[in-house]
Every structure is written in C-alpha cells, then in structure tokens.
Amino acid sequence: MEFLLENILNLVGFLVGLIIGIVSIIGYRNTGSPTLFRLAIAFCSISAGFFVIWTGYMVEDFVLKAGHLERWIQTLGIAIQTVGYFFIAFSHSIKSLFPKSRYFRSIGIFPLFLVSSVQIEHIFRSVSFILLAYGAIETTLSYLENRNKGAISVALGLSLLALGEFLGWYSFVFPESVLYFVSMIIKIAGLIALFIPVSKIPLTKIKFDESFD
C-alpha cells in the first residue's frame, strides 16, 4: 500500500510540476517576465525531483526487485525538489537565505560532506518545510491583499505540502507508524490544490511562440 501511494504521489507530483512548469515557460516566452522564469525553474525542478524518485521506484520494482529504494535516489529527488521550493520562496523576495560573508558561505557547505545520506535527506526535508511554509504565508498575505480565490488554493496547496514534508521528516522518529502514510496523502492533496487554479487558466487564445507549435 505504501509503495502504491509513493508511486501515485511521485507521479502526481511529476505531472502537476510539469504542467505548471510548461505554463510558466510559455508565459515567460510570451512576456519575458523574470517572475515567470523563476516559477518555471521552480516547477520544472519540483517535477524533475518527483520524476527521479518515481523512476527509482519503477526501476526497483521491475528491474532490481531489491524490496527497497536506494537511499541516494530518494535523497537526490528530494534535493532537486528543494531547489524548486527555494525558487518559489525566492520569487517572494527571499534575499537573505544564504549567509553574506564568504567565510560562512564556504563553511556552510561542509556539513553536507560530514553527514550520511540519511541525515542529508533530513536536512533537505527540513529546508523544504521552511521554504514551503514561507511560500504559503506569503501567498496567504497576497490573498488578503487582492482576494484572488486562486491564491488561497495555492496557499492551501503549499501549506499541505509543508505539513506533508514535516510529517515525512518526523516519521523517521517513528518508522513503523502511520505518519509516513499520512504525509503522502497530505502531499497528494497539496499537489491537487496547487493544480486547481492553474487548470482554470485559459490558454487557448494565446498565440504561442513558433517553437512551441
């Protein structure tokens, strides 16, 4: 059951990320907006991250049949997703995430070489949680300003993804509990909530660039 849910989650994540990423790319090609460029990077990264984990599960299930997913594949996928979450947060003007001092920046990388891949996964999950929570708060504030219904759906989606990420991280403490299962259900709901406003964008009358025809 967990394997099936994991597959559904990663497939939904891959498709939702891909669709939003493509819409953002089309928007960037048509308007040249840097905001849409950042959104395109964000959602293409999220899509790629889910795709890596989904492919890992598929290969494991049909080729390797080892009974478990290689830890480094999971870590790689989550790392790529975290890049995407960073760009969502960055679009909301995060400018002080990285230490400004060159010294701090150089030692900031060190912990990644000193910890095991399991711990790196914990780090990425916790960073993802912070970025998603930030994005959700900013989107909620934006909703309070302009009362756009789509914004509340995206804010809900980001909140659910953040909660799912938190529960996914916390499930390492209780590995046999239902937490990881619940986290996957919540993340699937979050991805669907993210997709709802994007599905209502009427793209039919837009003249796309020739390269997209």
Partner: protein, 95 residues
C-alpha cells in the same frame, strides 16, 4: 499604501493606454502617456523607444509631433500579459 509597480506592469499600463484610452485615432502623445501611465519623462522615453524597436508600438508622425499606437504584436503581448498576470497572482506574485 503606495503600490510598487514592476517594469512589466508599467509596460502593461502604457500598452493598455494606447489600446483602450486614446485621445484620437492617430495615437497618444508622450505627454498624454506620462499622465495616464504615471511615469517620468526620461523613463517613458526609454520604454517607448524599446517598445517601438520590439514592434509592440507604432510611432506615428502627426502634425509635427510624435504619437504612439499599439501594433497587432502589442495587442497579442497585452493579451498574454493579462492572462499570465492572472496566473502569477494565483501564486501571490506579480509579473
């Protein structure tokens, strides 16, 4: 509260003015655009020359003065701008 406008929003305002809010059929003068789009003269001059070079606006010589009209490409750009502006607003962002 004063609303911060992005460069893209200013371009959208200028194009919207030349499409929907013209004084006459010849186009809009720079003075008119400055008043409607609320941009300084030096800044709007730079933006207008870029928009003309990109084919979004057409420069018309009328009675010894320059006027600006939106082109077909400009109309398509404006349509895309409004649609993707709505898309970005869903994410709490402005393009």
């Amino acid at each position: 509260m004063v609303e911060y406008r992005t460069h893209m929003k200013i371009i959208g305002d200028i194009l919207s003015t030349t499409r929907d809010d013209l004084q006459d059929e010849d186009g809009a003068t720079v003075t008119y655009l400055i008043r409607k789009a609320n941009v300084s003269h030096s800044r709007i001059s730079r933006i207008l020359s870029v928009l003309v070079s990109q084919g979004l606006l057409e420069k018309v010589d009328s009675q010894g003065s320059h006027k600006y009209k939106i082109s077909q490409t400009g109309r398509e750009f404006l349509q895309a701008y409004h649609k993707f502006s709505g898309f970005a607003i869903n994410f709490g962002l402005t393009i």
